[in-house]
């Protein structure tokens, strides 16, 4: 019989321990599929961050390291400079990447480090129990914004792709989602392009996945998909923000 569907080689046999309906596990699977498709599994090194995905290292079949909260891009930088032939990626939440780790994000992007960041933006701090994140939407209630996020008090949700698109070191930048099959497929394509940009030595790449966190949002998984589409989709437009390969070669004046 022909095998039409199976577990990607890059994934280990460890079952995911995320909540039912969580986007992290989907993103892991897509990451593994992208790595399999590109045929770079043994050369891959993953960097886990601090958040619900702190145990990302358990789920893959290649080398992994766990980084301090927000510092995964710096750790990936150190590894990549020592092992330039390896394919480096980090898997980070929004608190990790866009709050405590903002400096490491911006400067690794600006240096054009040949690493890929997989950014799971679920608008909340999942692991610590649903506190406000830098990407929490206006009006959204969390355990530290019990009245709903107010722009005058807590500022505005941070749009990472829009923020870093201007940086010259960025080679590939896309925002996707994993709330329906079309978006899932697009996310896999985006991950492959991001890794390809790294393999081609073009610079820094990042895929932001607008993600559902049913537990943190206090919703049933199915409702969280709908809420994501309507609420998050309105503030975080999906699409390619930068693709160095597609850009016309610049004339030197």
């Amino acid at each position: 019989m022909e095998k039409v569907f199976g577990k990607p080689e890059s994934l280990s046999d460890r079952p995911f321990t995320y909540c039912p309906g969580c986007a992290h596990s989907l993103v892991h699977r897509l990451t593994a599929e992208a790595i399999d498709d590109l045929g770079v599994m043994p050369r891959c090194i993953g960097v886990a961050s601090v958040g619900c995905s702190v145990f990302s290292d358990l789920y893959f079949n290649f080398d992994f390291i766990q980084a301090a909260h927000g510092r995964a891009p710096a750790v990936a930088t150190g590894i990549k400079r020592v092992k330039p032939d390896c394919v480096l990626f980090t898997h980070q939440g929004d608190g990790d990447l866009a709050s405590i780790g903002t400096a490491e994000l911006i400067h690794s992007a600006n240096r054009g480090e040949k690493i890929t960041i997989i950014f799971v933006n679920n608008a909340i701090y999942g692991m610590t129990g649903g506190q406000m994140a830098p990407t929490t939407l206006i009006g959204m209630k969390t355990t530290t914004s019990p009245l709903g996020r107010q722009a005058e008090v807590q500022g505005y949700p941070l749009r990472v792709c829009e923020l870093i698109r201007e940086l010259k070191g960025v080679a590939y930048l896309e925002r996707t989602a994993v709330n329906n099959p079309q978006n899932v497929l697009k996310t896999k394509r985006a991950l492959k392009k991001a890794f390809q940009a790294q393999l081609d030595g073009l610079g820094f790449s990042l895929v932001e996945v607008v993600s559902q966190c049913p537990t943190g949002w206090g919703m049933l998984p199915a409702d969280s998909l709908e809420w994501l589409e309507k609420e998050m989709g309105a503030y975080f437009p999906l699409g390619v923000f930068k693709d160095a390969k597609a850009e016309e070669p610049q004339e030197v004046a």
Binding site: P42, I45, Q66, A67, R71, G78, I79
Partner: protein, 365 residues
């Protein structure tokens, strides 16, 4: 490179010694009084085919070092007090994950932004671990530029031997002074000892995972006991100190680094004058601390005088080692103040004259 005789500034000597020890990754962030080291590495590291990164912060620098070390490189960073404070979380991760690295703290006056004058006030931070959790780093305390070189090379070896960070606790005087040094021949660093755990291409082997998270009940406690055993081995094997004119001394001074340089001159000057006979015990490692050597000394000496450029930090370890067996007095400068020979000789006189331990703060006199 072959062995050479050179006239070098302390900070640059650390950099050259690190390169000759096979260090090929440096990440740092500017801070006085250690900038010459960062600058030296920016120039020399590429010449040796290594990586130099001026990081966006000390936090990023230590985490780059964490990554580079995990990838099997000999790696280092350097800073001064405030920057080392920022690096503590990363150092704790290195210890928890059992990764080696070497770093230098060219100490300045604190607390806060303090000043850029030489100080020893990061003694507790260095010798107690410094960050969160149960861990230690090996702390070397050089007092000459030659020792900066030798202890840097030893620092890399010790770090690799125990898979644990080691550091130099210097100060602005040592970092800035020029002295002749014998620069050792370059070693060919062989990373093959790390192939069992370093990150890289996992083709044809079990995958490697480096982490400091241990959530399953009992696993962290077991791991920490394993660390504790390693630290006990370091305490048994790596203690280093120098004894100078102690045999017939009436008062033994205990001092390290720059303070020990002054103390050594005070010992000689006092003997030339024919007054109280002074001797010196100079710890070369601050952790592990020469506890046994000091305890031995306390058996047949009445007076010990701790001379330090901090408020009673070294004093605390000396008193713990002496355990009430001798009178331990303190001569302390802080915030950039330096002891003088005369102060030390005078303080020794006060120790002998008093039946109780004395604490002397020259700035108040």
């Amino acid at each position: 490179m072959a062995e050479e005789r050179l006239l070098m500034k302390g900070n640059e000597a650390i950099g050259e010694a690190a390169l000759r020890a096979g260090c090929r990754f440096y990440a740092g962030y500017p801070i006085t009084p250690q900038n010459e080291l960062t600058e030296y590495m920016s120039r020399r590291m590429p010449e040796e085919g290594g990586t130099f990164i001026q990081a966006e912060s000390e936090i990023a620098a230590i985490n780059m070092v964490y990554g580079a070390s995990a990838a099997g490189a000999r790696t280092m960073t350097s800073s001064s007090g405030p920057g080392i404070s920022l690096k503590q979380e990363g150092i704790s991760y290195l210890c928890g994950s059992e990764l080696p690295c070497f770093y230098a703290n060219i100490v300045r006056g604190g607390p806060g932004l303090g000043n850029i004058a030489p100080a020893q006030s990061d003694y507790f931070q260095s010798t107690r671990g410094g960050g969160h959790g149960d861990y230690r780093v090996v702390v070397f305390a050089p007092s000459t530029v030659q020792e900066l070189v030798d202890l840097t090379i030893l620092g890399f070896e010790v770090a690799d031997r125990y898979n644990n960070p080691s550091m130099i606790l210097g100060d602005g005087i040592l970092g800035q002074m020029m002295e002749p040094v014998v620069m050792r021949e370059s070693v060919t660093y062989d990373p093959s000892g790390k192939t069992g755990w370093a990150l890289g291409n996992s083709e044809g082997r079990e995958r490697h995972m480096i982490t400091s998270v241990r959530l399953a009940p009992g696993t962290l406690e077991r791991h920490n006991v394993h660390l504790r055993k390693k630290y006990l081995e370091i305490e048994a094997k790596e203690v280093r100190y120098e004894l100078y004119e102690v045999d017939d001394a009436d008062v033994v001074i205990i001092a390290y680094g720059t303070a020990a340089r002054v103390a050594k001159s005070a010992v000689t000057a006092a003997r030339e004058k024919g007054g109280i006979k002074l001797g010196l015990l100079r710890p070369i490692t601050l952790w592990p601390f020469p506890t046994d050597a000091i305890a031995d000394l306390a058996k047949n000496k009445q007076d010990i005088l701790v001379a330090e450029m901090s408020f009673g930090q070294l004093y605390e370890d000396v008193r713990l080692s002496v355990c009430g067996k001798a009178k331990v007095s303190l001569l302390a400068h802080t915030g950039g103040g330096l002891p003088t020979e005369d102060e030390i000789i005078e303080a020794a006189g006060k120790c002998v004259a008093s039946s109780e331990p004395v604490e002397i703060y020259p700035v108040l006199e």
